[in-house]
Amino acid sequence: MESILSQKIKDIYQEQLDHQLDNISYKLFDSTLIIMLEGSITSAEKLLNENDRSHLAEQVRAAIDRVIQPQIQSVIEEVLNVKIVDFLSDTTIDNDITGAIAIFEFKSKDALDKHKV
């Protein structure tokens, strides 16, 4: 399950941003999935951030996240067979990391056993 989810999230970054993520890790607690994406910042954002354009870099990241996050949300729902009721996500450009908390309801009773992370 982790490898399918990781590949799909990597594909989103690759297809939409032509950017390769360094690492993706997960933790599942009850009906909460936590995802950490390392190396999520693109070269363009890093360049802006390093050249006194950090505010612009933040605006770019906010726009990117608005596009990317719903896609990640859909992928989680599809792979885990769940309905996400809340998706909380944030990125820090300096540390090149994105974290997300997905709170969901299971669509089927046995999904937890099938897809334990």
Partner: protein
Amino acid sequence: MTDNLLTRGQLERKISQDIQSLYRNHLGHQPSKVSCQFFDTKLAIIVEDSITNAEQILVEEGKNDLAEKVRSSLDNAMQPELKRVIEGNAEVKVIDILSDATLDTGRTGIIAVLSEIPKVRNPESIPKAKV
């Protein structure tokens, strides 16, 4: 030495209580529930009913953009205190704090990235993240 340490659950509950107090003292608003969960060198925090009445009024008046700006500014303003609460209790350094809130559900999610796994009586109970 180990006997003086809190268990993972005790430490998570203590941080949850302190965060509830933090909201009450700084925003005059008490969240209905704060839950904390350590995993690896991270601490995930979920704050239920984190949105103040003032922000709810803005949302009801259709001023969602302003409500989101207020929320984002409040979260930023509270981060140093939040960091102090985590560092003070867990006795580790907080390297990064990722935070987001949904006005509709009133929920705030926070992930604190720590310098190391906190010292607890039962460190084996802190789960590892799957890669």
